[in-house]
């Protein structure tokens, strides 16, 4: 309970929770108002950032093949360190709203086709040069170049023209997009001097820390940049990322105080770690989810009744309980949950062997259904497949499990085989999530989902600036995917990180793990 109170207190201090809400929850936990008030003032005092020291994170997801070139960012290590040395135009806050960063303000033409970002003045790169709209333009050019290998290329494709106009950068789109500013938060789009065209891996940005050490797959380090423009980030004198891919080594490094922050805590270890004094589990529900993907254009999954039968044959509650130990929420066969600002409920599908039997019979398919899975598809994917097999057997559906090797799973099985396990980290907006994974022509349309009505609605919502109308369109799109899609979404996982005794300033951020990848610049070491 003390952990819970402590956390709520921190939330009040960081403005996520109101004072009144805090007192209400404290009362619910059995605390008297005066006591709760004194706790709150303690929290406020503890929340005064402490400057100095070296903040170290021990992270999973780095290799000797990593680079500082933002175009190739893909692992937690690259991205977390990237957000310590670089910044984008905007930042998505923990509530899903947009905050200014290198752009002070932005706005669009009425048809959401022309977007203007006003670039902040007086911000300097680590090499001393002042950041200008020309640098922003060059950065966007580098990532939207057709021949670029940038991970942001996909989201930049809708942009027709980019131009500098005084202190502004103006984007002209091919089609209207009400969500364009959200795309600018993408971790590839760190603004670099001349867009990083001269030396993509130089690691020069405008962030709170200057890169001092770059040993790919081993250690990355930065020291506080004296000329940093804001004072609510970057409290430690030094930050360091140590790559620790072994889960046990990561936990022991945290326990022995060699690192202050770790990521990827396995759900089965959470209860053990909670017992260790001084350690705090930082779990937050995000948009990430685990899926079983049937390819809608490949037999036998080209039959919607078979897909429905499988959807009714999965026991989501049991899977959440046993695979995620409750650290997540049940999914409902579409990729959106309450963490999205414009989310609306679709009636929750429940485990129903009778309905599964009915649709299975109607599909005319008989004989076993082959499901491919692997340890790398998501943590616990093999166990999850076995649970699925058992629940399906009760509905008379014979599910055959094939365990594939992790090496080559993403190149040989995923998007090639008709039915396999996979995962998504989610996206900041529904538009992005559907655009990358469900739009009929999307590169990662893993379920071969083709629905003209759905595509049309996607563009319609993108062009719609009225949130209520968009909400309605997204609700209908969710229903279509739920009813006809090839993706079974049994559960949304939580990001589970952990911090050591003295780490303060953590903000639960549902956007990504590690406090939205901002842990290094948001946290400080107390006393």
């Amino acid at each position: 309970m003390t952990n819970e109170i402590h956390r709520l207190g921190q939330q009040v201090v960081s403005g996520i929770l109101s004072r009144r809400d805090f007192l209400g929850r404290a009362a619910a936990l059995g605390l008297s108002a005066p006591f709760a008030n004194s706790l709150l003032s303690n929290a406020a005092r503890a929340a005064q950032p402490v400057k100095g020291g070296t903040l170290k994170a021990g992270l999973q997801g780095g290799a000797a093949t990593d680079t500082l070139d933002t175009a190739h960012f893909s692992t937690s290590v690259d991205i977390t360190f990237g957000r310590a040395w670089g910044e984008q135009l905007v930042q998505i806050d923990p509530k899903g709203g947009l905050q200014p960063a290198l752009a002070e303000e932005w706005g669009s033409s009425k048809d959401a086709k022309v977007w203007t970002f006003k670039i902040r003045k007086g911000v300097h790169f680590h090499d001393g040069k002042e950041m200008t709209p020309a640098d922003v333009l060059a950065t966007m050019e580098r990532h939207s170049d057709k021949n670029s290998k940038s991970g942001a290329l996909g989201i930049m494709q809708g942009i027709d023209k980019i131009a500098v106009d005084g202190q502004n950068v103006v984007f002209t789109l091919k089609d209207p997009n009400a969500d364009l500013p959200f795309l600018m938060d993408d971790y590839h789009l760190i603004i670099q001097p001349n867009g990083g065209k001269d030396n993509p891996a130089a690691g020069i940005g405008t962030g709170p820390y200057k890169v001092t050490t770059n040993e790919p797959g081993v250690r990355l380090g930065g020291e506080k940049f004296a000329g940093y423009w804001r004072d609510d980030r970057g409290f430690a004198d030094q930050v360091e990322v140590i790559v620790i891919n072994d889960a046990t080594a990561r936990m022991s490094a945290l326990q022995s105080g060699q690192v202050h922050i770790v990521n990827f805590v396995q759900p089965k270890l959470v209860d053990l770690i909670k017992r260790v004094p001084g350690m705090t589990i930082r779990n937050v529900s995000g948009r990430g989810h685990y899926v079983f993907v049937a390819r809608c254009k490949t037999a036998p999954f080209d039959n919607n009744d078979l897909r429905l039968a499988l959807k009714f044959a999965i026991d989501r509650d049991e899977m959440l309980d046993k695979v995620l130990r409750g650290y997540g929420t049940v999914g409902n066969d579409f990729p959106i949950n309450a963490a999205y600002p414009l989310f609306t409920e679709v009636e929750q599908r429940k485990y129903d062997p009778d309905k599964a039997k009915f649709h299975y019979k109607k599909s005319g398919h008989d004989g076993p259904v082959l499901l491919r899975t692997s340890d790398v598809a998501f943590p616990g994917a093999v166990d999850a497949a076995q649970l699925f097999q058992q629940s399906a057997a009760k509905a008379g559906i014979q599910l055959e499990i094939k365990r594939e090797p992790g090496d080559g799973y993403w190149s040989e099985v995923w998007q090639k085989q008709p039915f396999c396990a996979s995962y998504w980290g989610g996206r900041p907006t529904q538009d992005q999530m559907y655009s990358v994974g469900y739009y009929s022509k999307a590169d990662w349309n893993e379920s071969q989902f083709v629905n003209d009505k759905f595509d049309k609605m996607l563009f319609q919502a993108r062009a719609e600036l009225d949130p209520e109308k968009r909400k309605k369109i997204y609700a209908d799109m969710g229903t279509i995917v739920n009813q006809e899609g090839g993706t079974i979404v049994p559960m949304f996982n939580q990001f589970i990180d952990a911090t050591g005794a003295k780490v303060e300033g953590w903000i639960d951020d549902p956007n990504y793990e590690l406090s939205g990848y901002y842990a290094l610049s948001r946290c400080w070491i107390a006393g």
Partner: protein, 319 residues
């Protein structure tokens, strides 16, 4: 006498070089058999026929295999190991630091493990079949029988988490003070020592015991030498060749076989480097590392051979 040693030594070295060449052919051929080529691996899913052709041209993949082999070999001989596919950086410079780290770790592990193993072996022979012998053999066997990761985790649990004597992760970097570096590698050195100790210790014991059966040892005993003096002056020098052999085998293991220990202790050595690149199918790096490992293995074996020739005059005069 010394000329025959030099001659035999030169023969062994020549043989070693030929073997290394043969290995290089095998490594090169092995990576050619893999489906797809480097160009396809670089371009991945986005490969179009034209871009593949361009990249092949650029990488010289259009030339016949034997031309490419000699090109590669020529590069290796001049210290150019090629370019990593994933990072686009020269492999030689990236490997240098890693190789140095691995050698550093292996050196200290050997410095602890070899004398310890030989001394324990000698003690075991002195008190053979007594409780001391049984205790030493039993403990050594136990430590070898546990898998490396288990030993590693047990060490971490006690020395890093519980008592906090040594750091649990051994990230070393350039310019790290020597004492700090030694502290950082304390645990991997301990783990490696425990892993290789028993093999060397038991081999020492067996080799000396073998010699102890000889008539001259009996003579030495009969003339009244103490048990340790017999072992030291008469048995050990005659058992040295097999001992060197097993020591060299274990040294080779300390360099090429420590992947698991490096992963557990987060030590930036060759093993970790190889694993990262195998996962990404970075063939040039895998080739380079394979060749370096083969060279290490072959040179240590040559050293063992030559040491055996020096230690045993009979080997210098083949019948």
């Amino acid at each position: 006498m010394s000329s025959s040693i030099a001659k035999l030594g030169a023969q062994r070295i020549a043989l070693g070089i030929m073997l290394l060449l043969a290995v290089s052919v095998l490594i090169f051929a092995g990576t050619q058999i893999l489906p797809g080529d480097v160009a396809q691996a670089i371009l991945g899913q986005s490969a179009t026929p034209e871009s593949l052709a361009n990249l092949r041209e650029q990488l010289g993949l259009n030339q016949p295999a034997y031309v490419r082999y000699f090109h590669w070999l020529g590069g290796v001989l001049t210290g150019d190991l090629g370019t990593s596919m994933t990072s686009g950086q020269g492999i030689s410079s990236a490997i240098k630091g890693r190789l140095w780290n691995t050698l550093f770790l292996a050196f200290w592990a050997a410095t602890v493990a070899v004398p310890l193993a030989i001394i324990l072996g000698l003690i075991a022979v002195r008190y053979r079949n007594g409780w001391v012998d049984k205790l030493i053999s039993g403990l050594a066997l136990a430590s070898t029988s546990f898998p490396e990761f288990f030993i590693g985790y047990v060490l971490v649990y006690f020395f890093a988490v519980k008592w906090q004597i040594f750091p649990g992760i051994s990230t070393v970097y350039d310019g790290m003070p020597f004492l700090e570096r030694m502290q950082a590698i304390a645990m991997p050195v301990t783990a490696l020592t425990l892993v290789v100790l028993a093999h060397m210790m038991r081999m020492t014991r067996a080799a000396i015991l073998n010699v102890m059966q000889s008539a001259y040892v009996e003579t030495a005993e009969l003339k009244g030498l103490s048990a340790f003096a017999v072992i030291r002056r008469h048995a050990f020098p005659n058992a040295i060749a097999p001992i060197i052999n097993v020591v060299m085998l274990n040294l080779a293991y300390l360099i090429v076989g420590v992947v698991v220990v490096e992963v557990i202790f987060v030590y930036p050595g060759m093993g970790q480097y190889l694993v990262d690149h195998v996962t990404k199918r970075d063939v040039p790096v895998v080739q380079a590392v394979g060749l370096i490992f083969a060279a290490v293995y072959i040179s240590l074996n040559i050293i063992a051979d030559i040491a055996a020739i020096v230690a045993n005059p009979r080997l210098r005069h083949p019948k």
